[in-house]
């Protein structure tokens, strides 16, 4: 049995993928969940592959999640953090990557502050490139793990009403969620202060709610985004307290919902700002399961990209039984 859909060399975003690609990624992630539940959390499929985690921005969750995924597939991994490497000496992205390639690597997982950095790199090196978040563009594996978590807890993504709450303008998580969810047939809405909701977002087919109460009334799923504290300093919102009063997801607000709402948050949380502790730790929160699913999704991405060239798929057709 061969892959019905071809995966290219890289994963830079969900915008360019078809619904079949996304569904395949989620389906392949399913069996990878079980590996992390075993006593020996390791399978040998990527043995001998060398993967570089190139993180120009600080990250704990995503980097550790990728690293676990890589190690559980038996790849060899190297972590490079922007703050403690030749990057601070002024080396540019391509030179850094070419030097890594000269040491014979197979894959790069990149987190970068500039939108489009992953695509830029993917076009310039032969290794597989996986986007672990680039500027305000996309964070595809986060989008995938959010969708996997929604799928786990509902009858499927098609027709599901998902509202993303918070700073939509600056959020790559919001973008990957919007692309992926729309492709799989979900109804998508965003909710946040007008300064933090992009103009023209309705043209994508996304609903906009100005009040979080309306979003709660409408939604099956709330994906609550982290409010970056620097947004307050930049003047997008008057104060964190005011943001919490108008947009904070609280138990009192959820109690008025006509149905049980699944609560997602990509982390790290600002408890008491965008989400109250009782909600984050409450019965409808699946925030920690998102983290668990993140490892499985990243294993699936690594697995599919590592073997996903057209010639190889061709060869598999001629494969006999064993």
């Amino acid at each position: 049995m061969t892959t019905k859909v071809e995966f290219g060399k890289d994963l830079t975003g969900l915008e360019g993928l078809s619904s079949e690609h996304i569904t395949t990624l989620l389906d392949v992630a399913e069996p990878f969940k079980e590996i992390s539940e075993r006593a020996i959390k390791k399978v040998p499929i990527l043995r001998g592959k060398t993967i570089v985690n190139l993180f120009y921005e600080p990250s704990t969750r995503t980097r550790v999640s990728f690293e676990f995924a890589e190690k559980r597939l038996s790849a060899d991994t190297v972590n490079i953090a922007g703050s403690s490497s030749s990057i601070v000496k002024g080396e540019n992205l391509v030179d850094t990557a070419r030097n890594l390639e000269a040491m014979r690597i197979d894959m790069v997982v990149i987190r970068h502050g500039s939108s489009g950095a992953a695509q830029f790199l993917a076009e310039r090196i032969p290794s597989n490139v996986i986007n672990a978040g680039d500027g305000q563009h996309e964070h595809p594996t986060q989008g995938l793990l959010d969708m996997l978590t929604i799928r786990d807890h509902t009858d499927g993504i098609a027709g599901r009403r998902v509202c993303i709450v918070g700073d939509i303008v600056h959020s790559r998580v919001a973008r990957s969620n919007i692309w992926g969810l729309l492709k799989l047939g979900a109804e998508v809405a965003v909710c946040g202060p007008p300064t933090l909701v992009p103009r023209g977002i309705k043209e994508l087919g996304v609903h906009v709610f100005k009040r979080v109460e309306q979003a709660i009334e409408w939604a099956d799923v709330l994906n609550v985004l982290r409010l970056q504290l620097e947004r307050m300093k930049a003047g997008y919102i008057p104060s964190l307290r005011e943001y919490n009063r108008f947009f904070g997801v609280s138990v009192a607000r959820l109690e008025r919902a006509p149905r049980d709402i699944l609560i997602l948050h990509p982390g790290p949380m600002n408890r008491g700002v965008e989400i109250d502790s009782h909600v984050a730790d409450g019965p409808h929160s699946v925030i920690l399961q998102q983290v668990t699913n993140g490892v499985a999704v990243r294993m699936a991405v690594l697995y599919l990209l590592a073997g996903g060239s057209p010639e190889r798929a061709e060869a598999s057709k001629a494969e006999g039984r064993s």
Binding site: T3, I45, A313, A315
Partner: protein, 184 residues
Amino acid sequence: MGEEVDTGTNAVLMDERAVRRAIARMAREIVEANAGIQGLVLVGIHRRGVELSELLADEIEKSEGQSTPRGTLDITLYRDDLSVVGPRPVIGASDIPNIEERAVVIVDDVCHTGRTVRAAMDHLADYGRPARIYLCVLVDRGGRELPIQPDFVGRHFDVMPAEDVAVHVPEEDGRLSVELHRIE
């Protein structure tokens, strides 16, 4: 030592009665080799090995009056040919009972190169240390690339590399038989 088969057209090598007889015999051989069903665990390899392991377990239960623990194994992530054949989108879940110090019988439909069995043994080792591992296959078609031999065999056939021995099982294919196909 295998039977010579006619290579002309697609042919039925074993019909349902022949398959059931072979399974009944292998079930007896397994119980005999293990001196009973004490500590016995049957592990089927996805997908057809799983169904064959269920047929074997039914036979063993008929004669011994007791059920045998069963497990399933998907060896996709233990293959050594990802870079040759590319990834597979359908990976079955592995579900292995306690195999520590048990006698594990790996059950598969066809034994050919031996690479699947090699991968299955690697996979089992991640779950524990069996007292011993047996290999039971419905068809041994020869063509081994590794020093691996089955302990219990339904039937041997000598077939050409350009031919495919297809085992059909009811849940997957709607019938129980062994057939020979020419690979186009």
